[in-house]
């Protein structure tokens, strides 16, 4: 079982900043889409390096042919 953690800051004028933790790759985009449907328009998305790591369920095979 995986745990995902979100930190949500709702500013005094209602703008929302969402910090997504523990999710790599497209799973992250799914969370952004969910919050877009709940809150409103996406103003900005900043990805950290782990965003570009492959999803946990993706297996990369590196085969060498001689």
């Amino acid at each position: 079982m995986n745990v995902r953690e979100y930190e949500i800051t709702i500013g005094p004028t209602g703008e929302v900043e969402l910090h997504i933790d523990g999710i790599k790759g497209k799973g992250c985009l799914e969370v952004v889409k969910l919050f877009e449907s709940l809150v409103g328009e996406v103003r900005e998305v900043r990805h950290t390096s782990s965003f570009y790591e492959p999803d946990d369920d993706v297996v990369i095979r590196n085969q060498q042919h001689h």
Partner: protein, 157 residues
């Protein structure tokens, strides 16, 4: 950390949901909700010195559920009155009046109130929607700048 996203809120709400957000905003800013009938009876006779500022709440739409119901909420604090209502175009608006207050001060009060109303609307909506998706609220704190921070945990198979 995987990503940080920033959202501009859109308020599409029924009047009861909006009213609940206005009530929470009023409490957080020290306003009292006034009975409409009492206010009408005590309307000020001297309106010359009463400044008035009308503000529309951007990105808002008040969904009508029942026609003919009184869809206004009046708040008071220190001689300032703020009237939240649904305008003719269906947007939420606030009219702020106060005898002896400048237009600038009343505008600041109106902007603070409407901002806080949107904040509480978003808070209530997120809490309810995240709960319905099986996400657990593990912490809720209010910062010095009055921002509200939620920490949410989601267990997935």
């Amino acid at each position: 950390m995987s990503a940080v996203a920033v959202f501009a809120p859109i308020v599409i709400a029924s009047w009861p949901a909006l009213g609940a957000a206005v009530a929470s905003a009023a409490t957080s800013l020290g306003f009292s909700i006034v009975d409409q009938a009492v206010t009408n009876a005590n309307q000020s006779q001297n309106t010359d010195s009463v400044q008035r500022v009308d503000l529309e709440i951007p990105g808002s739409e008040v969904v009508l559920e029942t026609l003919g119901r009184d869809q206004r909420i009046r708040l008071v604090r220190d001689g300032v009155e703020a009237l939240f209502a649904r305008d003719a175009r269906g947007r939420a608006s606030v009219c702020v009046t106060g005898e002896g207050y400048s237009e600038e001060i009343l505008r600041q009060v109106g902007e603070e109130l409407s901002g806080r109303m949107v904040q509480h609307y978003v808070l209530q909506k997120l809490k309810s929607e995240l709960d319905s998706r099986g996400m657990n609220l593990v912490e809720e704190t209010v910062g010095e700048d009055q921002s509200i921070r939620l920490r949410v945990r989601h267990w997935q198979n």
